[in-house]
Symmetry: C2
Subunit: 231 residues, 2 copies
DNA sequence: ATATAGTGTGTCAAATTTACACCATTAAAT
DNA sequence: ATTTAATGGTGTAAATTTGACACACTATAT
């Protein structure tokens, strides 16, 4: 019995939840749509996959086109396939997240005309988003909240050199709760993957804090066993 | 600007990793394919999604058609979208897992002709599988291994009434390591979601063990805060 | 009766987690 | 020069959790 593949049966898209951290606040990247449906609405950056690109490649391309951001480490987290999630027909979407340092990043700006603008928006008090993007965001946020505990994702959000207070306030923003300063530091430093630098914070009008770096080599050495459990 | 959706751009399928537990061994459900490509190969149960069904619905339908199993609680865990994962063209697949009690289950048997047979196979010493199904299996196995620690999935694999030794041997099979009997029991019982029954094991030629039940109501009460973090 | 196979139980040491408060340092303001 | 405002940086003790460890009990089969 020989069976040939059916012709294509779905439209396939990617949506991205891009987290950034700035001024002690967790933010995500939104775009203002320039197309129907949901023209002028705010939405997650997302678009349709081409036939000859893997979904991981598509995610990178689409994010670039809508925001100008490149070379992020994006990770798939869920696929949304309700029949009616797109008003014009069957569209299945794979959602990705990435975490980036906003600091010093040149301004985000769409490269194509599908979006009018792109900008950072605090994750608290998000407006209504197009399609089922609010649900996609929630799912992604829950994912990284959980992963924060077993993946070194915090360091992707911070500048290369950071203070322990910055690190803590990031944890607090993601987990949405206060942490104890002394315990937090003790714990973080005990892992042994933070490298204390000889440098201090600059430009602050109070006692400057020591700067630290994330040492990925040490991290993977320490956690090599656990690492494979993820994907 | 009005843009209409492109015509369909991909073939979209579902693959299922169905775990069962029998005789102290963790198993998954495989089928023998009856179609090219990979005719006669062993594969995960999987097939193509229809246009008018959600992916969750499709997963249930496809599993039923290939194995005769119904009403499992299936959960999506990853989407595989490499361009060349299917030799005949672009096929994106969403992988689902489910866990079921093999015990007393009537024999698995394909309902359609796409599979010649369906059967349980121990997860150790799996043969080569069709397509990228070995990778899909590995990813799924890692997923449930991790979820075992924060989701009550173990109880889906056991009969309704089970002994603590059975529960422990399931944990050992999934985590692939020996656990300490006394510590395991102490811990499990301390959670408070296991209900001790007045019944004992029957038909064993040694001291019969007490039977327990998983009390889902208590479980959700205890862990209501953590629950939302998953999806 | 006895051999067999698995059930069921407690303690102590070590490690981890939690709670908790004050002095030090710097720049800016006076 | 002094004060103020803001944050940096540090230790200890109690409570909790984890981990290591061994033997008597019970039901059945012979």
């Amino acid at each position: 019995m020989e069976v040939k593949l059916p012709t294509f049966n779905s439209v396939f898209s990617i949506d991205c939840v891009i987290f950034g951290f700035e001024a002690g606040e967790l933010k995500i990247l939104l775009i203002e749509r320039n197309e129907e449906p949901f023209k002028d609405w705010l939405a997650l950056p997302g678009y349709i996959v081409e036939q000859d690109e893997s979904i991981d490649d598509a995610a990178e391309r689409i994010l670039y086109e809508l925001t100008g951001l490149r070379d992020l480490h994006m990770q798939q987290f869920h696929t949304f396939g309700e029949v009616n999630r797109h008003p014009q027909g069957r569209v299945i979407t794979v959602a990705y997240y990435a975490l980036i340092r906003i600091n010093g990043q040149k301004e985000v700006k769409p490269v194509t005309q599908y979006a009018k603008s792109a900008f950072w928006h605090p994750v608290n008090e998000l407006p209504k988003l197009a399609f089922d993007h609010t649900e996609i965001f929630e799912t992604g946020f829950n994912k990284i909240r959980r992963r924060l505990n077993y993946q070194p994702i915090a360091f992707e959000l911070l500048p290369e050199k950071f203070t322990l207070t910055q690190l803590q306030s990031l944890y607090e923003a993601v987990l949405n709760k206060k942490l104890d300063k002394r315990n937090f530091r003790k714990k973080m430093l005990s892992y042994g993957f933070l490298k204390e630098l000889d440098e201090k914070q600059k430009g602050v009008s109070y006692r400057a804090a020591k700067l630290y770096k994330f040492d990925r080599r040490k991290y993977t050495k320490i956690f090599q066993n656990d690492l494979n459990l993820d994907k």
